[in-house]
C-alpha cells in the first residue's frame, strides 16, 4: 500500500515539474530557443507574487492572477527587444544571452530581497488533504497536478485549434514563408514568450506555496524542467507532462528507499530514458 501512496505522490509532484517545464517546452517548440533563465523567471515571478501578497494583503492565487499579465508583458518585451536578436542559425547567442540573464536576475533578486528563504502562505490549504480511495492526497499537490494538466490542455488548445496556434506552427516550420502569409515572426515569437511567462507565473505560485524559495533556487528548477522536456521529447507538450511525472515518481520512489536518493533517483531516471530513447518518449515527427 505504501508503494501505491508513493507513486501517487510522485505523480502529483510530477505535475509541479511539468509546470516548471511547460513554458520551456512551448518556447523551445516554437523557436528552438533554450531559455537558460527559465528557472530564474519562475523565482522572479514568485517574488512578484510575494510582493503583491505583502503589499496588498491579498491571497496568493489572486496575486498570481494579477502577476500573469505583468509577466506576459515582460516576456513579450524581452523576446521582442532582446531574444529575437539572438535567433538565427547559430545556437550559441541565445544560450549566452539567457545565461547572462539568469545571472542578472539572481543577483537583482539577491540585492532586492536578500538571501533569506521566503514562502507564499495559503493558510489551511497547505495542510488540507483528501481521501482518494485508499490513499490520502494533499489538496495543494492535487491542485498543482490539476493545474498542470489544465495548462497542457490549454496550450494544446491554443496550439492546435486557434489561428494564433496555426501561426505558431507555421512560423516554427519556416519563418520566411510565414512572413509571406502576412505573419510577423518577431511578433509571433514575442507572443509565445508572453504565454510561456503566464505559465511561469502559475509555476511560481505552486513553487512558492509548496516549498521555500530564495534567489538562487532557479537553476535547479531549470534542471528539472529540462529533464522533463527532454524525457517527453522536445516540443511535445503532453510528453513534457509525462516527463515531469517520470521524474516525480522516480524521486518519490528513490526517497522511499532512502531519503538521500530522492534527487539522485530523478536524475538517474532521466539518464535511463536518454539512453533508451535518445529523442525522448514522444519526439516530433519533423525536426
Amino acid at each position: 500500500m505504501i508503494w501505491v501512496d508513493t507513486i501517487v505522490q510522485g505523480v502529483l509532484l510530477g505535475g509541479l515539474y511539468a509546470l516548471f517545464a511547460a513554458g520551456l517546452s512551448l518556447v523551445f517548440g516554437i523557436m528552438r530557443l533554450v531559455n537558460l533563465a527559465h528557472g530564474d523567471f519562475i523565482v522572479m515571478a514568485a517574488y512578484l507574487i510575494l510582493v503583491l501578497v505583502t503589499l496588498l494583503g491579498i491571497d496568493p492565487f489572486l496575486a498570481a492572477l494579477i502577476s500573469a499579465p505583468i509577466l506576459f508583458g515582460i516576456g513579450w518585451l524581452l523576446q521582442m527587444h532582446v531574444l529575437n536578436r539572438t535567433l538565427g542559425p547559430d545556437i550559441l547567442p541565445p544560450l549566452l544571452v539567457t545565461f547572462g540573464l539568469s545571472i542578472v536576475i539572481q543577483n537583482a533578486l539577491l540585492e532586492g530581497f536578500s538571501a533569506d528563504s521566503q514562502r507564499l502562505s495559503v493558510g489551511q490549504l497547505e495542510t488540507a488533504s483528501l481521501a482518494l480511495g485508499p490513499v490520502n492526497v494533499g489538496v495543494m499537490p492535487l491542485l498543482t497536478f490539476v493545474s498542470a494538466v489544465m495548462v497542457i490542455i490549454g496550450l494544446n488548445k491554443i496550439f492546435y485549434s486557434t489561428s494564433l496556434g496555426r501561426a505558431f506552427r507555421a512560423t516554427s516550420d519556416d519563418a520566411v514563408t510565414a512572413s509571406l502569409m502576412g505573419i510577423r515572426p518577431n511578433n509571433i515569437f514575442a507572443t509565445a514568450t508572453g504565454i510561456a511567462m503566464v505559465v511561469v507565473t502559475i509555476a511560481a505560485l505552486y513553487l512558492g506555496t509548496r516549498a521555500n524559495f530564495d534567489p538562487t533556487v532557479g537553476p535547479a528548477r531549470l534542471i528539472y524542467a529540462f529533464e522533463a522536456v527532454i524525457i517527453g521529447g522536445l516540443g511535445s507538450l503532453w510528453g513534457t507532462l509525462a516527463g515531469g511525472i517520470i521524474i516525480g515518481v522516480a524521486q518519490t520512489l528513490g526517497a522511499a528507499i532512502n531519503p538521500e536518493w530522492q534527487i539522485l533517483a530523478g536524475h538517474v531516471a532521466f539518464v535511463i530514458v536518454l539512453l533508451l530513447r535518445p529523442r525522448g518518449l514522444f519526439p516530433r515527427a519533423v525536426d
Binding site: 506552427r169 507555421a170 516554427s172 519556416d174 509571406l180 502569409m181 502576412g182 505573419i183 510577423r184
Partner: protein, 235 residues
Amino acid sequence: MALLQTDNLTAHYGDFQALFGVDIRLEEGETVAIIGANGAGKTTLMRSISGVLTNRADAITFENDRIGSAHAADIVKKGIAMVPEGRKLFPSLSVEENLLIGAHGRKVTGIWTLETVYEMFPVLKERRLNPGTALSGGQQQMVAIGRALMSNPRVLLCDEISLGLAPVIIRDIYAALPKIKASGTSIVVVEQDIGQALKVADRVYCMMEGRITLEGAPSDLSRDAIHNAYFGAAA
C-alpha cells in the same frame, strides 16, 4: 502607371550581386512571364518583390505605393501574394490549415475562399485533413497556389510552379491560371519551361545573369531572339 513595376532594382547576397538594374512592369489584368536559365536572377526578383529581400523604397512601386523596403508581411496585406519556389508548405499544418493561413490574421474579401479553392482543386477537399507535405508534388503545388489565392491578391507571383512535376500535372496546374486571371488577379509567372511560359503570358521578360535581356509579346519574339537572350549570343 503600371499596377506593379520595378525601377533599377538591384539585389545582393553578401558580396555577390544577383540583380543589376532590373526594370519590369505588370499592367492590370496582365500575365507576365519571366524566363531564364538557373541562376539568372528570377527567384531573386520574386523574393525582392515579395519583400523577403528588402530594397530601396522606390525600387518597387505597387499601385503608386513605394513598397521596396516594406516587410513581406505588409506586402501580402497590400495585395501581392507569392507561390514560392519549392512550394514551401508548412509540414505541421494540414492541407486546410495551409490554405487558411494564406489569409492569416485579417479579414479578406473577394472570390477566393476555401470553397472556391476546393472547387478549382477538388482533390484538396478530399485530403483537407492530411498534412500538407503528405500530398504528391502536384497536389502540394495546388495547395501552394490556393494558399496564395486565399489572400485574394491583386498580383499573384508564381515562382517555378512546374519545377519537378510530370508534364500531365503541369498541364493541370497551368489550367488554373486562366481562371485566376479571370478573377481579376494579375499574374507574374517565373519559368524555366519556355514553352509553358509563352502559352500563358501576354508579355515575356527574359533574364540572364541578373539583367533583363529581352522583352516582348510571345508572338513578336523569334526563337533565335529568345535563344540568344536565354543562353547568351555566343551559345
